[in-house]
Subunit: 120 residues, 2 copies
């Protein structure tokens, strides 16, 4: 189940506020927000980024880097980790702190296949 | 010296093809390309991304994440690691493989202050 997978990702990612599965067209499929972060508008955040991700993907293709697979954006008060699932979809994880995110990135990767298989 | 710093970053980053210091306006300050990768057009690559980085920075600010500090873009045949140095400048490192990039990211970070101080 998509909801369970997103919950697993969030609960096993230190500092995670939430995760969202979204189309590159900015339409959310499903999301899970961590306990205590119910007011986090992860959908607006992912929408804000989704069109920019398309631009980044086009740039990677234009530069002969092949298909884009991952994006990480770190800022003072948050980190967004993105795993591209397919031509249409990506999963994004929002971390509240800008600290270490190795485990979180691994959680996204290790669940990417399961998420993708639910989308077909 | 900027050139020496970029060379240090490239030579100590496994799989690095080159590094470039660029303004967010797409104008390159200086670059260093690794031996054997002289035909890598890292300036065009960074230019292609620079305007998109401005969009990502604006999004982070709009989402109350504060100043954007780092961007990583992984694709099938390359990884771009970016460290924001100031309002005006960033340094980007191009890795030829999409493997581990922890040391490379650390090289960018540990040299960021020295690079910035050369820009003022």
């Amino acid at each position: 189940m998509l909801a369970d997978l997103l919950q697993t990702i969030v609960e096993n990612s230190p500092g995670a506020k939430g995760a969202i599965l979204m189309g590159f067209d900015g339409i959310a499929v499903m999301q899970h927000v961590a306990a205590g972060y119910e007011d986090t508008d992860i959908e607006s955040l992912a929408m804000e980024y989704s069109f920019r991700f398309i631009d980044l993907r086009k740039a990677a293709e234009a530069l002969d880097m092949g298909d884009m697979t991952d994006i990480t954006i770190k800022a003072e008060r948050g980190t967004v980790i993105v795993r591209v699932l397919s031509e249409e979809y990506f999963v994004a994880l929002l971390l509240g702190q800008a600290g270490h995110f190795g485990k979180s990135r691994w959680m996204l990767r290790s669940n990417a296949q399961a998420l993708s298989s639910q989308l077909t």
